[in-house]
Amino acid sequence: MSIIKTENVCKSFGTVEVLKNINLTVEPGEVVVIIGPSGAGKSTYLRSLNRLEKNTSGKIWIDDILMEDRVNGKNLVKMNSKERAEILLEMGMVFQRFNLFPHKTALQNVMLAPMNVKGVSEKDARAKATELLERVGLGDKLDSYPSKLSGGQQQRVAIARALAMDPKIMLFDEPTSALDPELVGDVLNVMKQLAEDGMTMLVVTHEMGFAREVADRVIFMYDGVILEEGAPEEIFTNPKHERTRQFLQSVL
């Protein structure tokens, strides 16, 4: 029983192959950190899981349900849009650039999807949003617009917003790359807490400290393939592949 499984996922932009036969299985509750140089296909892979990118070929199972079986870009899995939407809701996503809705307050950002997608009442949505924002340390910023928040605060609102939909899986696409160094810690702490609470997480990041401390498994991607994977200790102290060694040397 796996929560995410991908088989031979390939993706090309024109003639450029960005993903080449990615096979990965993630167990419930597992924290998987994907590292690698830019252009390795880490973000593309993450985005293909919740269909922000359409793969060229390969299979994707979410929660043991086959969602995608693509051949030449065409999905062979027939599924009505409601069913598909429900499965996609099992994944929450956090973006590098936060992508908060600038015309909504922190509270409204978090309340929007539960009310409009799940039909939660305003009262319940507000209560839950308040609780989530308190959990990420922003109980005093409920009515602030994103433009009045720091990058770190915005990213924590974005995490709360994703959590409001009760996802089983959280996808983090370089969540701290756009942050000033002194703001990174707050965001990582929230993520660490989430991992401790048992959330399944797939994290693309350059924060090696976080990978080392929180990850159950580290994946090293290079040039569209998974070159190496293993427990963080293994990867960081004894990388098997020359490329991994070079990469770690350059970032550590």
Partner: protein
């Protein structure tokens, strides 16, 4: 001097009355065009190629031919082609021409504003489970509103002045009335109050739009 001023004051009732026509024509046609333009803009960015082509073609036609000719076409050519389409009311003919024409321009303004919203907004909305149309309605369009205000204001001011074209089909707007007075009284002085009236109206509307823009930008 005194005499001139007295003359001008004497013309004011007729000028103000015809200003009503100018205002009614611009406000109602822009309002109707705005509604129509939303559909045109959404149609043009639609993923349905047929709808997109039709809306694109419409916009291309109305932006690519002179408004004056469109006005002639609706008032003179259409009845000749199809007698049933003989529009008796000059006001309605003018209104129709302006609505159809302005909608094409407004559609481009709306489309540009929608497409100027960061792609990440749609992605975030979709990742949260919103459908494309919900994302448009709740996330994209509310942000696009504010960006539309200045160009729409600009367009409205242009329309207000362009309505002077309707004097060509003898609709008694401010410009036509001014010309009547000028030729009947053999005095070109009447252009002074007429221009001032245009200036006051455009000034008032520019002020209103500026206020609106400020009000909508509270979150920035």
């Amino acid at each position: 001097m005194m005499e001139s001023i007295n003359k001008i004051i004497g013309w004011m009732p007729a000028l103000i009355q015809s200003t009503g026509v100018t205002l009614a024509l611009s406000v109602t046609s822009v309002a109707a065009a705005l509604v129509f333009a939303v559909f045109l803009a959404l149609g043009k960015i639609s993923r349905n190629a047929v709808i997109s082509k039709i809306c694109g073609g419409y916009i291309f036609f109305f932006r690519g031919t002179p408004l004056l000719m469109q006005l002639f076409f609706i008032y003179y050519t259409m009845p000749q082609l199809v007698p049933a389409l003989n529009i008796q009311s000059r006001f309605f003919a003018a209104w129709l021409a302006f609505t159809l024409n302005v909608a094409a321009y407004l559609a481009e303004i709306i489309r540009a504003a929608i497409q100027s919203i960061d792609k990440g907004q749609m992605e975030a909305a979709r990742a949260l489970g919103l459908t494309r149309s919900q994302a448009m309605r709740l996330v994209i369009i509310p942000q696009a509103y504010r960006r539309m205000i200045p160009p729409i204001c600009n367009e409205f001011v242009m329309v207000l002045k362009d309505t002077s074209l309707v004097s060509i089909i003898a609709l008694t707007d401010l410009t036509y009335q001014t010309k009547i007075i000028a030729s009947n009284k053999a005095s070109a002085l009447v252009y002074i109050p007429a221009m001032l009236i245009y200036l006051v109206i455009t000034g008032v509307f520019t002020f209103i739009f500026n206020r609106l823009e400020k009000k909508l930008s509270i979150y920035e």
